[in-house]
């Protein structure tokens, strides 16, 4: 097996073009498990953990561009207030050991339906930046996943970053697992509220072949809140609206029975998480007014 250690992003892209079958490795939290258990033995590894460009984040045009190699620990510490939903999800990833190594880039690359970063990225309408020697493209997260552990990433491409607006308002993330730490999600849900533009973002995890939005639930909430003038003057949400929102979130999912939980349980959990996440986010809004995070 070849082991490549590029020190620059240009070198990493050249190596991936030359060895399209090579597997990129950053924190190793997925790749090394495959190797340790002999499940998959790629012909080559490209260690992108020493590429400085990937470990950086910056602000441009009102957006945050976060390098694919920024660890969950750094995400929480350095970007927590700007990306509260993603930071909440990051805190639920594995353990300190895993958060020190694991990256959002790796989460996206593995493209698991249960990836913790995916629901908040969907809710925040983030985009994934994909790069190759041919150039760079920006793909909305919603279009990135094509199936369980499959994405639009081409064989010669690497994930360079994700691009997202700083949270325009309150965000929440909920995850159900068998215990508090070290669990893969049985189901998860993220919400992002944008009071200034009257927009709602959602993301469902671990309850469909890919992470996905609940577009119908977003539209319902946007329409009802606008009609009632509640973005301008937030009042407690009517119970009926909370329930209809939760129903639409559940109907957007298409969960399966598997070792971690049944489809019926996942639907049940999603309805509760949707209601709670919305209630919490709305309570934040009522408490803090519609001041955006930054």
């Amino acid at each position: 097996m070849d082991f490549h250690s590029p020190r620059t992003w240009a070198d990493a892209l050249a190596l991936k073009a030359e060895h399209p079958e090579a597997v990129p490795i950053a924190g190793g939290t997925d790749v090394m498990v495959e190797l340790n258990f002999n499940r998959h033995r790629p012909p080559a590894l490209i260690d992108i953990s020493a590429v400085p460009e990937l470990a950086q984040w910056d602000r441009a045009d009102g957006h945050l561009r976060v390098g694919a190699g920024v660890s969950y620990t750094r995400l929480v510490r350095e970007l927590g207030p700007r990306l509260p939903g993603l930071a909440m999800a990051a805190r639920t990833v594995g353990s300190p050991q895993i958060r020190n190594r694991g990256t959002v880039g790796g989460n996206l690359g593995s493209a698991s339906p249960a990836g913790d970063a995916h629901p908040p990225l969907l809710a925040g309408r983030a985009s994934v930046e994909l790069a190759s020697v041919r150039g760079t493209r920006l793909v909305p997260v919603e279009e990135f996943f094509t199936g369980p552990k499959r994405s639009v990433l081409a064989a010669d491409e690497l994930i360079s970053a994700f691009v997202v607006r700083p949270a325009p308002g309150p965000e929440q993330f909920c995850k159900v697992g068998t215990r508090n730490a070290m669990v893969i999600a049985v189901a998860s849900f993220a919400i992002s509220l944008d009071p200034e533009h009257g927009r709602v973002g959602t993301g469902i995890g671990s309850a469909a072949p890919t992470p996905r939005r609940a577009a119908g639930a977003e539209e319902l909430l946007e329409a009802e809140l606008s009609a009632a003038g509640m973005w301008e003057r937030p009042r407690p949400l009517p119970d009926g609206l909370l329930h209809r929102f939760a129903e639409l979130v559940t109907s957007a999912a298409s969960p399966i029975d598997d070792v971690r939980g049944s489809a019926a349980y996942r639907r049940h959990a999603l309805a509760i998480m949707a209601r709670r996440a919305l209630s919490w986010a709305w309570a934040d809004l009522m408490r803090n007014g519609n001041a955006p995070c930054n």
Binding site: G28, V31, M32, D47
Partner: protein
């Protein structure tokens, strides 16, 4: 491949390392440092915890090639001049060991916690050690040990 790295302040050089093997395998099978334990090999149990350039990681999830030129501290490197560290002493005093298998990982994780947070609350201790599984003693004595170590190192 040839691998050069520093472990507990000592430079090591080892040949014929398979690129896909883990840092844990290198430590145990090539360098004879058996303190870091091999259990789950998937980052679930924390018994292989080491400090890689000062950062707490599961050495089973670090590819050997990724450790090239890096500085590693294992449980063997925590004491000074043949004496145990305050954390190791505290684990011993509190009886926070039974079979001992998870102990090296818990000790390394506790060292890391107290370096960043010298006076952790119980919740912070539980959170910091959430990635270290014990399957026999239970965690109460471990909590006692961490509280005691925090007291002595304050």
């Amino acid at each position: 491949m040839q691998l050069r790295l520093e472990v507990n302040g000592v430079p090591y050089e080892t040949d014929d390392v398979w690129e896909g093997e883990s840092l844990l395998y290198v430590l145990r099978e090539r360098l004879g440092l058996w303190g870091s334990k091999n259990a789950c090999e998937q980052g679930e149990c924390g018994s292989c915890s080491v400090l890689l350039d000062g950062e707490l990681v599961c050495s089973c999830l670090v590819a050997a090639g990724q450790a090239q030129g890096r500085h590693v501290v294992t449980v063997e490197g925590l004491g000074r001049d043949g004496r145990m560290s305050a954390v190791q002493e505290a684990f011993l005093e509190a009886g926070a060991v039974q079979c001992g298998f998870c102990t090296p990982g818990l000790v390394v994780a506790t060292e890391d916690l107290l370096r960043h947070n010298p006076a952790p609350s119980d919740v912070e201790i539980r959170e910091a050690l959430a990635g270290n599984l014990c399957r026999c003693t239970g965690y109460e004595k471990v909590l006692d040990a961490v509280r005691a170590a925090a007291g002595t190192s304050r």
